[in-house]
Symmetry: C2
Subunit: 140 residues, 2 copies
DNA sequence: CATAATGATACCATTTTAGTGTCATTATGT
DNA sequence: ACATAATGACACTAAAATGGTATCATTATG
């Protein structure tokens, strides 16, 4: 079972790298090489982050990507929702079957709570925290 | 994103039904009809639950399935792991990439914690609790 | 021995995820 | 002007996971 797909994973790591290279323009080509990711795939991902306003792109020679917002404001939850759709763990379960008229289904309630908790936790993980902690570890 | 797949969902609901029909032998055919599930699919699911020791089957005319263990001992976590494999949310993330030598990767730590929490919650949800609460609701 | 049930298992269909390829657009430097 | 090096848009393919079907074997009952 996957909470985080490869696309989201790539996005997180790519953003980590971009965040570290403060203001420097990053190209897909260079990033794909240093992170060992398929170039076309990474490109599609960065394009998506661009249209979502998280990255800012510049075209043409010397172009590439830079962060468009503060890395402290980019949460893993946000990235998950961009690449995996709205965060819904229990969507299809019990839909109109066993408890069609019962609003307060025990199982659904439990799942809803889990969903809420996970969402909260994912929202607390930001690109800034990830890169910062990585640095701390490296310096040891 | 799915925490619970259809198979697991079906299994939970089927077990709920079987748990309610104390000791009565339940056939795939009857259950599939009353729960409106594809018969062959449900059959495969019950067979699996049988080999896992959760149900007990009897073959031949008049045969079918009954619970093999106390419904209070059947957790949703257990069912998820039977039908969806071991519960691992963060398995592939960061594998040998950004933090290959760093044992204490912040992101991985966060995901591990979430995983632990979710597992704990899923373990607390049992078939007994689900059927019991459903009954309470119905009586209102 | 017909019937009605599960056991085992191979197979197919659908959906999701991963990844590629191509042509268009745009900015830069010479 | 033009070669070049970058992204934009998007169609397409490949692989994996999930959902579902079908068939033949086995077994118990009456």
């Amino acid at each position: 079972m996957k909470l985080i797909t490869k696309q989201t994973d790539y996005a997180i790591r790519a953003l980590g790298c971009i965040a570290k290279s403060k203001d420097a323009i990053i190209t897909v080509c260079g990033l794909a090489e240093s992170l060992d990711m398929p170039q076309s795939f990474l490109r599609k991902i960065l394009q998506r982050l661009n249209t979502k306003g998280i990255l800012k792109s510049s075209k043409g020679k010397g172009g590439g990507f830079v962060l468009n917002i503060n890395p402290a404001k980019i949460s893993v939850l946000q990235l998950v929702e961009i690449f995996q759709g709205e965060f819904k763990l229990s969507e299809h379960v019990f839909k109109g079957k066993i408890c069609p008229v019962i609003k307060t289904c025990y199982f659904k309630n439990r799942l809803d709570k889990i969903e809420k908790d996970v969402k909260k936790q994912l929202q607390l993980i930001t690109i800034k925290k990830i890169t910062k902690q990585d640095d701390l570890q490296r310096k040891k």
